[in-house]
């Protein structure tokens, strides 16, 4: 590279950062940047050189609800990604790469849980204090985790959990013990749900948690392997339970994890 060419690259980069290049020139610089670390570094340098000029800019105020729109677009993108992941999931399942698919599924859950955690801050007080804590005996599996209990924590904030749920996976006996959960207002009740691909596309009710002042026992008639990988949820429903057969009120969801490595 001769000296003139170096100078012209430097000029090109500086004009790129200044913003005076036209569209085609900008596109060319951006395309070239991907595979040209020298060019990339020159851009970073000029950005640092000129960044001080931003101090001249006076603050300005966009409309108040703009951040909500940003979050809505973010959700849209995550949903699109989840749909893509779902097709990936199906592909992987059919090509016997089941373990990868489970990771994808769990990742999708994690994203949903995060989204819930955020939106719960602005949601009803009921949702904000609702949390489940599940302790589950290990499944009958010949692994090093044989004696480690499984646990799932789903909390909207740092407050105490609202419920502890323990599950004897051999007898499929479920015990929900209220911790800080308050009795529901008149006309409302908690409802417990299970969701797993093996069971169907929608959550299935495990019954109402009508009286939260005492531990509640439920028998779950699903295969232990399904229970182990299922998603559990507690939603707030009208008295008598969800009128539609699927959760309609604020809900949180979670899965089981071993408590030790």
């Amino acid at each position: 590279m001769n000296n003139n060419e170096e100078i012209s690259i430097n000029t090109l980069v500086a004009e790129y950062v200044l913003g005076t290049l036209d569209k085609d020139e900008r596109d060319a610089v951006e395309a070239r940047r991907v595979n040209d670390p020298v060019l990339d570094q020159a851009i970073v340098n000029w950005q640092a050189h000129l960044a001080g000029l931003n101090d001249y800019v006076q603050d300005a105020e966009p409309r108040k609800d703009l951040f909500n729109d940003i979050l809505a677009k973010l959700d849209q993108r995550i949903d699109n990604k989840a749909m893509n992941d779902k097709s990936l999931h199906d592909t992987l399942m059919s090509t016997a790469a089941a373990s990868s698919a489970v990771v994808v599924e769990m990742e999708a859950m994690r994203i949903k849980l995060k989204r819930w955690r955020f939106s719960a801050l602005g949601a009803s007080a009921i949702a904000a204090c609702l949390a489940i804590f599940m302790v589950v005996k290990p499944p009958i599996a010949p692994s090093i985790q044989a004696n480690a209990p499984f646990v799932a924590v789903f909390q909207a904030d740092d407050k105490q959990p609202a419920f502890i749920m323990s599950l004897d996976i051999e007898t499929r006996q479920l015990t929900v013990r209220p911790v800080t959960a308050q009795g529901q207002a008149a006309g409302k009740t908690y409802q417990l749900w299970i969701k797993a691909d093996e069971i169907g596309p929608t959550p299935r009710s495990l019954g109402l948690l009508a009286n939260v002042s005492t531990p509640i026992q439920k028998q779950i008639n699903y295969d232990p392997a399904v229970i182990r990988h299922a998603t559990f949820g507690i939603s707030v429903e009208p008295a008598g339970g969800s009128p539609t057969g699927v959760p309609t009120g604020p809900a949180i969801h979670g899965r089981l994890y071993p408590t030790s490595l």
Binding site: N10, L18, G19, A51, D55
Partner: protein
């Protein structure tokens, strides 16, 4: 928000921490980051586009990009606010070069812009970057420092600079290239 906080070291650190959390898809941190920075970034976008609705549209994309790219933020390369401002400027310049925007909300008064650009926002302590840059800009022949500022702050194309400074396009190109070369030498000292 106290805007002058942005120039303080602890705020730089807390913004960096927020970006770190945003990289882990923490929406609360994202919300705090927005609260702490959106007026500054919107100021950058609006100054170039000079249209409220178009600027709001671009600002949304800017924050979505910040969310996506937070993972690649490197505190050793740029300060958080510089990194975010770069994303905002890039996106805005792309927009303004891409197509003709709707008519701006305000009639652009070049004299006003020139006056405005001479005074940094008082609530900001002048950054070291700016002090050095100002010293280097001061060495440029008049009115080339103003031209550099107009390009950077107002997003003027070469053609717009030619109109603004009442010079042929070729002269603007020469001014730009010579100014860049001179600044390069000065800044790297």
């Amino acid at each position: 928000m106290n805007q002058s906080l942005l120039s303080e070291q602890n705020t730089t650190e807390s913004l960096a921490n927020l970006l770190l959390k945003v990289a882990q898809e923490d929406r609360l941190a994202f919300s705090e980051l927005y609260e702490a920075t959106h007026r500054k970034l919107f100021g950058i976008v609006y100054r170039i586009l000079k249209n409220q609705a178009a600027s709001e549209e671009v600002l949304q994309e800017v924050y979505l990009k910040i969310w996506e790219k937070a993972e690649s933020f490197d505190a050793s390369v740029a300060s958080p606010i510089t990194w975010m401002a770069t994303i905002a400027r890039n996106r805005t310049i792309d927009e303004v070069r891409k197509n003709k925007l709707p008519d701006s909300d305000v009639d652009v008064d070049f004299d006003l812009i020139a006056d405005d650009s001479m005074t940094p926002d008082d609530s900001f302590t002048k950054s070291r970057d700016l002090l050095k840059l100002e010293a280097c800009l001061a060495e440029l022949e008049s009115p080339r420092a103003e031209m550099i500022k107009a390009a950077y702050l107002d997003g003027f194309s070469r053609q717009e600079l030619a109109e603004r400074f009442e010079q042929p396009l070729g002269t603007i190109k020469t001014w730009l290239h010579r100014s860049i070369k001179q600044l390069q030498g000065c800044m790297n000292l």
